[in-house]
């Protein structure tokens, strides 16, 4: 194969690889930092507790209740979508989206807890999650971004 001929294919390919490698490095750093923040917040002592039970335990003094929400919108980036597109060829776990959605869910829950803590509560019951895809720019496989919403009923103790 001669040099010019290979340049025709390799040029764009190399350019693409450089783009992807850039996103790979930055995405990796961002994701690691985000997980550090999430875990640090989740393990902070004195966190508001969250439960999916529909009813609070009866032995609690009748508290004030209120709806609390935490919502996150994340976008699928070029690189995650690229990897996902290649994944479609071979099948298997869509790792690139899994970690993204996992981060979004946990972040939403943390924001809900923050809201609950601001209301002076120490626990939230009946936690539910909603995930909604927000369409992209109308291009193919446009999972442009998605919203994760966590909501629940906060119990504000009466003193």
């Amino acid at each position: 194969m001669n040099t010019l001929m290979s340049l025709q294919l390799l040029g764009p390919l190399l350019f693409g690889l450089v783009l992807l490698a850039t996103g790979f490095v930055s995405g990796r750093i961002l994701e690691r930092r985000h997980y550090q923040r999430i875990i640090e917040a989740e393990t902070r002592p004195g966190q508001v507790m969250v439960f999916s039970e529909r009813l609070p335990p009866p032995e609690l003094k009748p508290p004030h209740t209120q709806l609390v929400m935490g919502s996150v919108v994340v976008s699928v980036d070029y690189f995650k979508r690229f990897i996902a597109a290649l994944r479609l060829l071979v099948g298997g776990r869509l790792n690139s989206y899994e970690s993204l959605i996992d981060r979004a869910r946990r972040e939403a829950l943390l924001r809900l807890r923050e809201e609950a803590a601001a209301l002076g509560a120490d626990r939230v019951f009946n936690i539910k999650f909603e995930t909604a895809a927000i369409a992209g720019r109308g291009r193919e496989n446009s999972v442009g971004s998605l919203e994760v919403l966590a909501y629940g009923t906060v119990l504000i103790p009466q003193h």
Binding site: M1, N2, T3, L4, M5, L7, Q8, L9, G11, P12, L13, F15, G16, L17, L20, F24, G27, R28, Y35, I39, E42, T43, Q47, M49, V50, F51, P57, F79, K80, I83, L86, R87, V90, R93, N95, S96, E98, S99, I101, D102, R105, R123, E140
Partner: protein
């Protein structure tokens, strides 16, 4: 109170470092697969081009016929080319059309449909008809082996692959411009094949191969010290080419001395 929130272990709902590993595996796999596909397409198309009927080639290159001026010079070149084709045993299904162009570049090239374009610079530079005949026979050999068609088929295949891969992405314009830049040259194997065929045609036509290397000798003088090494180039290094011609002549027992024919003044 049995109510508490414990932190579950990481890596259950996602795979830590998972997409990074995916990225490396998939991208490398994709690149390797693309390279393999490209190589296969080039191989298969180049190989299967021989079954494309010559009439297709002719219809593709029909526009070249309109530019041809039936001058004495063209007539002389056409006659010489036909003689050489007979001497070298050109595939009878193919036919030659020789053109000349008023350009100072010392070159000639063969293209689809059996067209050979001789640039005037070549006619001015060669000292004997044998020197011209060798270049002409070299181009006839390309047509005999259907190299232009193989290259065209490969180019089309490459275009198709790059359209498939980059066609629906932001890389499209880069691939597109790359496609226009990449004019396929003949591979070194093709050039060697053509040299051997041309030498044999020259021997059959003149009975000796004197003067066959005259153009290469001139090229060797022209070549500067900083020229590309042979392995980087599609055109075999002139020195290596001269050596190979000598070896071939010796191996086949072609006399390298003989009367040189002068080129008729009509071409000057």
């Amino acid at each position: 109170m049995g109510y508490q929130n414990r932190q579950p272990p990481e890596g259950i709902n996602y795979e830590p470092q998972g997409w990074q590993r995916d990225f490396i595996l998939l991208v490398l796999g994709f690149a390797a697969g693309l390279a393999l596909l490209t190589w296969l397409v080039i191989l298969v198309l180049g190989w299967s081009a021989r079954w494309i009927p010559f009439s297709w080639e002719q219809s593709l290159s029909a526009s070249l016929n309109e530019q041809r001026e039936p001058t004495e010079r063209t007539g002389y070149l056409q006659t010489l080319a036909d003689d050489l084709a007979r001497a070298g045993g050109l595939n009878p299904e193919l036919s030659l059309v020789v053109h000349h162009q008023a350009q100072d570049t010392v070159n000639a090239f063969a293209t689809l449909g059996g067209h050979i374009i001789v640039l005037d610079g070549l006619l001015e530079k060669v000292e004997s008809e044998q020197g011209l005949a060798f270049v002409l026979a070299h181009e006839i050999a390309h047509i005999h082996y259907r190299h232009p068609l193989q290259n065209a088929a490969r180019q089309a295949g490459l275009g198709l692959i790059s359209a498939l891969v980059f066609g629906r992405s932001d890389l499209n314009w880069i691939a597109g411009s790359g496609g226009q830049l990449a004019m396929l040259d003949y591979s070194r194997d093709m050039e060697r094949e053509a040299d051997a065929w041309a030498l044999q045609a020259l021997y059959n036509h003149y009975g000796h191969v004197a003067g066959a290397d005259s153009l290469f000798r001139w090229l060797a003088e022209q070549q500067q010290a900083g020229a590309l090494p042979e392995w980087l180039s599609t055109h075999p290094d002139t020195g290596a080419r001269l050596e190979r011609l000598e070896q071939l002549s010796t191996a086949l027992g072609y006399p390298t001395d003989g009367p040189l024919t002068t080129i008729p003044s009509v071409t000057r």
